[in-house]
Structure formats: C-alpha cells, structure tokens
C-alpha cells in the first residue's frame, strides 16, 4: 500500500470520517490535443453517492470515464495525473486497464444489452468473456444475486432465456446494472444512467442507488440537478473542464460557495 499524499484542494477537506475510495489528483484529460479537464482534484468516499453535475460539454462524462480508464479507449484521447484507488494509482505505468475496469464498473447513458445474448447471458457476460468457467449452480446463483441487487429479478425471473433486448428501456438499464454488478466491482460509475428513461424508471434507479451504496461506492454523472439533489451525498460541479466546487450535496444546493455554482443550480445558465 502506498501512503497517500495530502490533498491539495481545499474542497476535499470535508469533515466526514468515511474513507476515500478514489482520490483524483491533478487529473487532466485531452481529446486529440484539446483540453477537456484541467487538473481536477477530487475525493470520492466509500459507500456514498457522489454526483457530478454541470452543463453539457463541461467534462462530466470525461471525468467519470477517466476513473476506470475508459477515456483512453478512443483513439487520440489521453489523460495525465493520478487516480488513486485504495491507495494505488490506476495511471501508474504497468497497471493493466483491463484489471482496473474489473474493479471499477460502469453503466452508460444508453442501455446496451448485448443483442446476441439472453438476459442471463448478459448478466454473466463479464465473467464468461473473462474466461471464467461457471458451473450451472454458480451461474444461477450469480444471475439471481445480480438481478436482485439491480431490482430486476422479480420482473424477469421467468424469462431469463429471452433476449436482453426484449426488455423495456428501464429494465434494460437495470439489466446493464446487474451485468456490471456480476463482475463484483468495488466502484460503480454511472454516466447519465437515467437520461433516456421515463420518470418511473428513473425513480426506480434512484431508489436502487440508495440500496447499492451500502455495498458500493457510486459516482453518478447527471445533467438533472434534481436527481443529484435527491440521490447523492456529495456533489461536484464542473464547468468548462474545471472543478468549480465540491462538497456535501446539501450544502452545494442550499449554500453554494461559488457564484458560478449558484447561477447554474438556480437555472441561470446550462
């Protein structure tokens, strides 16, 4: 274990005993030479929901994609700085991004069940594609546990062999959550998971977040400020690639420290 350097940002001095699961230090990200994020410093606490808000194009998605090294998947992208996961820098040379992604799962804006796979095969896809041999009993146990955690089990337990794409949009998104949970990650990154969903499905996912944070550390990107206020414990406000403000959600929304934050949450722009 590497000892953690003291955080440089004043925002991170939040008086909460919970341990930092992820520590973002001086992280910058680039798209084909264009700067998308400028030296971000951010502490993400274990077993809490941290929301990232900001107007379109501010770098929310980029930030969350840097946390499991998905940003660099597209040609021409790269990131600089450190992201410490339990005291280990996932950007250190020699770290395998594939291993990082097994510990830090991700759910995307668009539900993406694999179209060639059944519901249960979708759930176990992450394990099977990593060449883990699953016995029938073990597979059934993982499928049921993951779908229960994603609050989808009761709706699909009789149709597990049907294609994942046969489900409704909200169910597909929960299937994707189940698929991410089946790999047993420690952190779950959610990139606008509700933006394509109706209000009822959105409410179900927000409820789910409250249950999941008992076992996981959650980072939620959202352009919906009400959602951040309802579902998160901490909120980070990004603007044009800079972290403007970070703190407890309650404080950010009731007593923001920066003028930009106040203007954004009161709807004056964005």
């Amino acid at each position: 274990m590497i000892s953690l350097p003291a955080s440089k940002s004043p925002e991170s001095a939040v008086k909460v005993p919970a341990a930092e699961k992820l520590k973002v230090a001086d992280l910058s990200a680039y798209y084909r030479g264009k700067t998308a994020l400028r030296s971000i410093n951010l502490d993400i606490l274990a077993n809490h929901v941290t929301a990232i808000i900001g107007p379109s194009g501010c770098g929310k998605s980029t930030l969350v994609r840097c946390l499991n090294r998905m940003h660099e998947v597209q040609a021409g992208n790269h990131a600089e700085g450190q992201v410490w996961l339990d005291g280990e820098d996932i950007y250190a040379p020699g770290v395998d991004p594939v291993q990082v992604r097994r510990r830090i799962g991700m759910v995307f804006q668009k539900a993406t069940p694999f179209p060639t796979m059944s519901i249960e095969d979708n759930v176990t896809a992450g394990l099977r594609l990593n060449r883990r041999r699953l016995g029938r009993a073990e597979r059934d146990r993982i499928v049921e546990r993951s779908l229960r955690r994603a609050a989808l089990w009761d709706e699909v337990k009789d149709v597990l062999r049907q294609p994942g794409t046969s489900l409704s949009g909200g169910q597909q998104q929960r299937l994707c959550i189940a698929r991410a949970l089946a790999v047993e990650p420690e952190v779950l990154l959610m990139d606008e998971p509700c933006s394509a969903l109706d209000p009822i499905s959105t409410a179900r996912i927000e409820e789910l977040l409250l249950e999941l944070k008992a076992s996981y550390t959650i980072v939620l990107v959202t352009h919906n400020m009400q959602q951040a206020a309802r579902a998160s414990d901490y909120t980070a406000f990004l603007l044009n690639g800079d972290l403007i403000e970070f703190g407890e959600t309650n404080q950010i929304f009731t007593n923001p420290g920066r003028q930009e934050t106040e203007e954004y949450i009161t709807g004056r722009f964005g």
């Binding site: 998947v73 097994r102 993406t112 694999f114 594609l129 991410a180």
Partner: protein
C-alpha cells in the same frame, strides 16, 4: 391565370410525371429481362441433357453418348473450399483490422482491397500461374484454389469491415467496461453481433468465385477424370462448360448447357441461403 391555362398546366405536369414514371418502369423491365431470358434459355437447353448420370458419371470420350460431369461438380466444390480456407480467415482478419484497430495501415489497405476487387480475374490467374504453377511444375487444385482465394480476400475484407462498422460503439465500450480484453470484445461481441452480415459476405464471395473461369484456365486447368490429390489438375464446372461449349460436338454442347444450368443452380442456392441467413437477423444492428 384563367381556369383553362391552370388546367392545361396541370395536364402538362401530369403528362410529364407519367412519362418519367414510364421511363423508369421500362428501365426496370430491361433490367429484369436479361435475367429472365438467360434463365429460361438455360432451363430449356440444359434441362433436356440433365439426368441422374450427369451428377454421378465421368465425361465419356467423344462419340460415346451419355456420361456426366461428376468430377467437375466435385472439383468446383473442392476449389471453392480451398479458396475459402485461404480467403475467409484472411479476409475477416483484415476486415476486423480495418475497422477495429485501423492503424496507419488501414487507408492503404482499404484502397488495395478496392483495387483488388476491380482487378480482372485473368490477371489474378496469371499471378497464381507465376507464383504457384511454375514453382510446382504443374497445374493443380492448389493453384486454382489459390487464385480463387486471392479473389475472395478483398470481397470478404470489405463486407466484414462494413458489417462490423454497423456494430454500435456503445456495445464495445460496454464490454470493455466489464473488464473484458480488447481481443475478446472483438471476437465475442463485435464478430458475434455482426455474424449474420459477415456470413452473408462470405457466401456472396463464394458465389462469385464459384462462377470464375478465367483464373482457372491456367491454374486448375481441368481434368477429364477424378483428381487424386491437391497437386493434380482438377476439373471445374466453369472450365468444363467452356471446353464443351466451344467443342464441335453436339453431344458436348448439350452437356455444356446442362453444366451451366447446374452452376447457376448452385449460385442461386447460395444466394437464397444468404436471404435465409439474413431474414430478420441483421435487425439488432439497426
């Protein structure tokens, strides 16, 4: 504008519309006619010479009635199988590289594939003659399969590339985010999702080379008997049809028609196979 001029303008527009519609209809019929004529002529000429023996017997010497093209039918399948062994893996591999990994090599590779698709097949035959027939000191099934394989590679490459391009980027990212390696994502997610489309491309490429004659003339050469091994000359339907059709013997000419009919039947069956494979299966991609 008076009522009558408005009416006549309306009539003029109506007439112009009908005329244009009529022209496109004529063009459509002209497109279909050759196909119908060729098929009808082929059936009327070929069917009378087609019998069970045609599929099971070797060609008879000139003057003897009967005989068949069993060796040529099997030879065509053998040549196509050899060509597929070479063309399918290389084509799919190159297609995946072009779209999935696409380094600095992809633009020239794509251009090369397009040039190769337009290359006259006789040129491919000459190439196979120089690099396979000459060193091996003889015509052979291998040389024929090699020539047809060369023709298949760019066809399979381009369809594979087009098909995997239709796979949404989100699916790749979803797999990568589960901690799946790039390679497994390509094989198990990208290729599987595009499988029906890739299979279609492969079958169409097979149908294309099954009908090739020119590159076989001086590679596989042809054989009046069964071919015992891949390093011997081998008969094929196309070359056999060619040889029989230009011969002065009425019996051979009749058999050429039968051979052409069988060849058309094989290609038609492959095309129908494509339609069957793709019925509704490409939907997840749309």
């Amino acid at each position: 504008m008076s009522a009558s001029t408005r009416d006549s303008f309306y009539l003029y527009r109506k007439l112009k519309s009908s005329l244009m519609m009529g022209l496109t209809l004529v063009a459509t019929v002209l497109t279909l006619l050759p196909l119908i004529f060729v098929l009808a002529y082929l059936v009327s000429k070929g069917l009378s010479s087609l019998n069970f023996n045609f599929f099971t017997h070797l060609p008879k010497p000139v003057g003897e009635p009967g005989g068949g093209m069993a060796n040529a039918i099997v030879g065509t399948f053998e040549l196509v199988a050899l060509a597929s062994l070479m063309g399918v893996p290389i084509g799919i591999g190159a297609g995946l590289y072009l779209n999935e990994y696409g380094g600095s090599l992809s633009a020239p590779a794509r251009f090369a594939a397009d040039v190769l698709i337009g290359m006259p097949s006789i040129v491919v035959g000459i190439f196979a003659y120089v690099v396979v027939v000459r060193p091996m000191h003889g015509f052979s099934a291998l040389a024929g399969g090699f020539a047809l394989g060369i023709i298949m590679i760019p066809l399979v490459t381009r369809t594979t590339e087009e098909m995997v391009r239709l796979v949404p980027q989100e699916l790749r990212e979803a797999a990568l985010a589960l901690g799946v390696t790039r390679w497994r994502t390509t094989v198990s997610i990208v290729v599987r999702t595009a499988a029906a489309g890739i299979a279609t491309g492969v079958i169409l490429a097979i149908a294309r080379v099954a009908g090739e004659t020119a590159p076989l003339l001086f590679t596989a050469f042809g054989n009046r008997f069964w071919s015992h091994g891949l390093s011997e000359p081998i008969a094929s339907l196309t070359v056999q049809v060619y040889t029989y059709a230009i011969s002065p013997f009425a019996n051979w000419q009749r058999q050429a028609w039968a051979g052409a009919l069988v060849l058309t039947g094989i290609v038609l069956a492959l095309e129908l196979g494509v339609r069957w494979i793709t019925r509704g299966r490409l939907k997840p991609l749309r």
